[in-house]
C-alpha cells in the first residue's frame, strides 16, 4: 500500500492561490456574467447560452472578427518576411552588430499608446510631417475620413513597432549557423537562394515558430493603436474585436454579451494559436 504524504499539498498551495487569484477566479467571474442577465441592484437572471448565441450570430461580431483576421494576416505577411530580410542583411561581426541590435530593440521599448500617438500626429494632414507632406504632393491621405488610410496607418504602426521582434528572433537563429556551413555551401557551389533555403531557414525555423505565434496573438489583440488613432473609425472600419468589446462592456454596460464575447474571443485566439503551433511543429518533425 502506498503511503500518501499529504503535507506535499502545502508546497503546492502558494502556487494554487496565486493561479486562483490571477486566473481562475477572474475567468469564472466572466463565465458567471456570460450566463446571466444583470440589472441594477445586483439582480441576476439565468439566461443559459443566450448571450453566446447572440454574439455568434451578430453581424457586428462577424465584421469585427473579419477585421481582426484580415489585420493579423496582413501583419504576419509583412512582418515575417520583412523581419527575415532585415536579419539576413544585418552584420554578423564587428561594431555594426551592437549598433543594429540597439536600433532594432528601440521600437520594442515604446508603449503601445505612445506609438499610436506618434503616428496619429505624424499622419495628421494639418500639422503632421507625413500627412502634410503627402497632402502637398496631392496624395489623398486622411485617416480620419478614409478607411483605407486608417488601415494603412495602423498596419504601418504595427510593422514599425514589431518587425524588430521578428528581426531579433531570426537574427538569433542566424548567428547560430557555424561559418563552416557557409564555406561548405560555397565549395558545393550553392546559390544564394539555396544557402537561405537549406542552411539559414532550417536554422531559423524554431525561432520563427515563436515569432509567428507571438505576432499572431499580439496582433489579434490589437486595441490601443486604432483606439488612439480614430477610436475605431472612420465609421466602424477599424473597430476590432477588442474595441468592440470595450464599447459593449463599458460604453453600453452590457455585461452579459461582453462576457460571452470575451470568452469567444479568448477561445478563438487559443484555437488559432494551437493550429499554428501544431502545423509548424508537424512540419518540424517531418523535417527531422
Amino acid at each position: 500500500m502506498k503511503k500518501w504524504n499529504n503535507r506535499a499539498w502545502l508546497l503546492v498551495l502558494p502556487m494554487l492561490v496565486l493561479v486562483a487569484f490571477s486566473g481562475v477566479i477572474p475567468l469564472m467571474t466572466v463565465v458567471n456574467y456570460s450566463l446571466q442577465d444583470s440589472f441594477g441592484n445586483n439582480q441576476f437572471f439565468w439566461v443559459g447560452t443566450e448571450w453566446f448565441e447572440e454574439v455568434l450570430h451578430s453581424e457586428r461580431f462577424h465584421n469585427a472578427l473579419g477585421r481582426n483576421l484580415l489585420f493579423s494576416g496582413i501583419v504576419l505577411a509583412i512582418e515575417i518576411p520583412l523581419g527575415i530580410a532585415i536579419a539576413l542583411a544585418m552584420p554578423t561581426r564587428g561594431i555594426g552588430v551592437s549598433i543594429c541590435l540597439v536600433l532594432m530593440a528601440l521600437p520594442l521599448l515604446i508603449p503601445w499608446n505612445v506609438v499610436g500617438t506618434i503616428w496619429q500626429i505624424f499622419g495628421r494632414v494639418d500639422i503632421g510631417l507625413l500627412g502634410h507632406t503627402l497632402a502637398q504632393w496631392g496624395v489623398d491621405y486622411n485617416y480620419a475620413q478614409s478607411p483605407l488610410a486608417a488601415w494603412i496607418t495602423i498596419i504601418a504602426m504595427d510593422v514599425w513597432h514589431w518587425t524588430s521582434l521578428v528581426v531579433l528572433l531570426s537574427y538569433s537563429g542566424l548567428v547560430a549557423v557555424p561559418d563552416a556551413y557557409y564555406q561548405a555551401a560555397r565549395i558545393d557551389g550553392a546559390s544564394r537562394w539555396a544557402v537561405f533555403r537549406y542552411i539559414q531557414l532550417p536554422r531559423m525555423k524554431r525561432v520563427l515558430l515563436i515569432a509567428v505565434l507571438l505576432r499572431f496573438m499580439d496582433s489579434f489583440m490589437i486595441y490601443t493603436e486604432p483606439f488612439v488613432l480614430t477610436g475605431g473609425g472612420p465609421g466602424n472600419s477599424t473597430t476590432f474585436l477588442s474595441i468592440d468589446l470595450v464599447q459593449i462592456a463599458i460604453g453600453q454596460f452590457d455585461l452579459g454579451p461582453a462576457a460571452a464575447m470575451s470568452l469567444v474571443y479568448f477561445l478563438i485566439i487559443l484555437l488559432l494559436s494551437w493550429v499554428f503551433y501544431t502545423v509548424m511543429t508537424k512540419a518540424d518533425e517531418e523535417a527531422s
Binding site: A180, Q183, R186, I187, D188, G189, Y198, S288
Partner: protein, 359 residues
C-alpha cells in the same frame, strides 16, 4: 585535376605585417603534383588550415599567387576553383536526405538528375552508407554526418583537388582506420590531388605520399614518410614525427666525432667546422642498450624509467642531466648496468636546428 603551385604565398591577418610574428603563414614556394596525396602536418595553430583555405579560396592570401595547373586562380572565388573541401566538423544540409546531400554539389553544377543519381549511388556504396540513403541527414549520428560530408567531397569526379581539414577528428578510432583506407583507395582509383590537414602523425604518414610538416606558419620539410623518419631536415620534424620522437642533444663536433656531455660519439662521416648552436639527433630506434663495458663506444647511463608498449619498451635513460629515450625490442631484457650505443649511420647533426650534411 591539376597540379597546385604556391608562388610566394604568405598570409597576414593584419593589414601591415612588420615582423615575422605577424604572418600566419610565412612566404613559401611549392609545387604540388597532379594526383598526389599530400598531408599538412603540424601542431594546432601552425597555419595548416590557413594554407588549406588559401588553396580552396575561402581566404585570399595577402601575398603571392596560387596556380592550378599553371593557371592563376588567386583572385577566383571558391565556386570557380572547382575544389572540394571537407571540414573538421560535420556539415550536412539537415532538411535533405543523405542522397540529396550527396547530389547537392552535382546538381548545383548542372549535372543531370540521372547522372548525379548514378554517381551518388557509387559514393554511397564506396562509403558503406547505402542503407542510409533515404534518411534525413539531421537524424544521423555525428560520425555518419561526417561520412556524409566526406561523401560530398568525393562525389565530384572533376574536382581539381579534394581538401580535407582534419576530417576524422569526430570519428571513433576503428571507423577511422576504415575510412582512411577508403580514402586511400579512392585516391588510387580516381587519382585526385588530395590535401589532408591533420595534427596526427599516424594519419598523415598512412594517408599521404608526401607529408608537409609545418610549424609557426612555416613549412619545415616536405618529404615522404620515409624521408621524414630517416632524415628530418629540422629538429622539430625529428621530434614531431616518430613515437617517441627523435632525441635531440646539445653537442660539439670535431671532424668525424661528436661529443655529448664529454662522451665521444663516432659519426659515419666527417664535418667541417660548424657555426651556430650544434645538436645531435638520433631516433630511439637506433640506440642500443648494452651492458656497461661490452663495447668501446658504449656510454654508461642511469635508468630513469620504462614504458612498456607491448610491442617494445620505451626506456628513458639519464646522461649528465640529459634524458634520452631508447627502444628495447620485445623480449630483450634490460641490462643491469645500462650503457647506450648510437648506431653511427643514423646520427644526424643539426646546426641552429637545421640538418647539416656531412662532407
Amino acid at each position: 585535376m591539376a597540379s597546385i603551385s604556391l608562388d610566394g604565398i604568405a598570409h597576414a591577418y593584419e593589414p601591415n605585417p612588420s615582423g615575422d610574428a605577424d604572418y600566419a603563414l610565412k612566404p613559401m614556394h611549392y609545387q604540388w603534383e597532379d594526383g598526389g596525396a599530400y598531408a599538412l602536418l603540424g601542431p594546432s595553430g601552425c597555419g595548416k588550415t590557413t594554407l588549406l583555405n588559401i588553396i580552396s579560396g575561402l581566404l585570399r592570401p595577402s601575398h603571392g599567387r596560387v596556380l592550378f595547373g599553371g593557371q592563376d586562380v588567386t583572385n577566383l572565388p571558391v565556386e570557380q576553383r572547382n575544389i572540394a573541401q571537407v571540414f573538421q566538423f560535420p556539415v550536412v544540409y539537415e532538411t535533405m536526405t543523405v542522397a540529396e546531400n550527396l547530389a547537392f554539389p552535382l546538381r548545383n553544377r548542372g549535372m543531370s538528375r540521372l547522372e548525379s543519381k548514378q554517381r551518388v549511388a557509387e559514393v554511397l556504396d564506396m562509403l558503406g552508407i547505402a542503407s542510409l540513403a533515404q534518411q534525413k541527414a539531421s537524424s544521423l549520428a555525428a560520425e555518419f554526418k561526417q561520412i556524409v560530408s566526406l561523401g560530398r567531397g568525393l562525389v565530384r569526379n572533376d574536382a581539381s583537388a579534394i581538401l580535407f581539414d582534419e576530417p576524422l577528428t569526430v570519428i571513433d578510432p576503428t571507423l577511422k582506420w576504415e575510412l582512411r583506407a577508403q580514402l586511400k583507395k579512392v585516391h588510387r582509383q580516381f587519382n585526385h590531388t588530395m590535401i589532408y590537414v591533420t595534427h596526427d602523425q599516424t594519419e598523415a604518414l598512412t594517408f599521404a605520399d608526401k607529408v608537409v610538416v609545418m610549424r609557426d606558419g612555416e613549412v619545415l620539410q616536405v618529404g615522404t614518410p620515409q624521408e621524414l623518419f630517416d632524415a628530418p631536415q629540422h629538429t622539430f620534424v625529428g621530434k614531431f614525427i616518430g613515437s617517441p620522437g627523435m632525441n635531440i642533444l646539445p653537442c660539439q663536433v670535431h671532424g668525424d666525432c661528436a661529443s655529448v656531455a664529454a662522451h665521444r660519439i663516432p659519426l659515419a662521416a666527417s664535418y667541417t667546422a660548424l657555426p651556430g648552436k650544434l645538436e645531435l639527433g638520433i631516433r630511439p630506434e637506433y640506440i642500443d642498450l648494452v651492458e656497461c663495458g661490452t663495447s668501446d663506444n658504449a656510454i654508461p647511463v642511469s635508468l630513469l624509467g620504462v614504458d612498456d608498449l607491448g610491442r617494445h619498451k620505451v626506456v628513458a635513460v639519464g646522461l649528465d642531466g640529459l634524458t634520452v629515450q631508447a627502444l628495447l625490442p620485445e623480449g630483450a631484457s634490460l641490462p643491469t648496468a645500462p650503457a647506450m650505443v648510437f648506431r653511427p649511420g643514423h646520427v644526424k647533426i643539426y646546426s641552429d636546428s637545421v640538418l647539416v650534411s656531412s662532407l
